[in-house]
Symmetry: C2
């Protein structure tokens, strides 16, 4: 596959040419958007790749990590959908997979019997603790050359973007 840098160079030229034909295009913002999408996708692929030896995919892993990070180690499909940005349909599949591997349990709630309670098992915790450390070097390497100020800037700008996107979705129908 082509190096990301080549794809970016190609995108830069492409947007340059298009913005000559269509001058009212916000070229700078379009470049940033494409950059973000390309880098984001590459990160995604890198994560997927790094998880592959453990035979778990990104969304299953993320779901498990949320449970792991909870003080009580439990949640419900609906809540997990919200925080993983997954549809309910897919969460059913994810839970099926994780239950089958013995990493979580799934049982009916006492108070509200519509609800399903999902809980990470001891085996699930051990799995996470074994899986995480080998990822650390790559995570660190991705941000090689970032000063502390760079990291603060990047965090600030991404959070601002998130804020803008939230507003964008709310505005249309108040």
């Amino acid at each position: 596959m082509a190096r990301l840098g080549d794809c970016i160079a190609m995108m830069d030229e492409g947007i340059g040419r298009v913005s000559q034909v269509i001058p009212d295009m916000p070229a700078a913002e379009a470049r940033l958007t494409r950059l973000l999408l390309m880098v984001g996708q590459t990160f995604d692929e890198a994560v997927e790749q790094a998880l592959k030896p453990n035979k778990i995919n990104h969304s299953d892993f993320l779901t498990l990590m949320i449970l792991y990070s909870r003080p009580d180690g439990s949640s419900t499909p609906g809540e997990l959908c919200e925080y993983t940005s997954q549809g309910a349909t897919n969460m059913t599949r994810i839970a099926n997979v994780l239950v089958k591997r013995g990493l979580i349990t799934r049982g009916a709630s006492e108070e509200d019997r519509r609800r399903v309670v999902i809980r990470i098992t001891p085996a699930g915790r051990r799995f996470v603790q074994k899986l995480l450390p080998p990822l650390f070097p790559r995570v660190s390497a991705a941000f090689a050359g970032f000063s502390d100020a760079d990291k603060r800037s990047f965090s600030r700008l991404l959070r601002k973007l998130a804020d803008n996107l939230d507003r964008l979705d709310e505005a249309p129908s108040p």
Copy 2:
């Protein structure tokens, strides 16, 4: 669906708790990684949403845009695979779709008959020119509140990340 800001707040807390249990985790970098993935995914969904009224999906659109941005309006499946980061299999499907809609043509190359030449049609150009302008307001709005310095920073940091990722993939097997 939950607001992105809530997901981010939840992620911040989660990483805080996990890094107490696993102190050698690079917590700052892990936060930035998750932030990037979350914002990237939300951007992706926003693009997909914005394209939906035109009944075209993101990867089909991206492929068409690359052809549009080319001086000669043509390319080959292999080249398009590289620059869209799509597998060859999927490029076959994309080309099928775009040909069926009359937005591109697909024909055998003269010089190398293994190759297939893909070319954007006049209808394809009209489609792009009609589709783009309505996207501009949203693209601009996503970066609302970004100063010129912010935009330069963001571009610089994303390009540095891309560079790091390229090195990460090359180093393992030289």
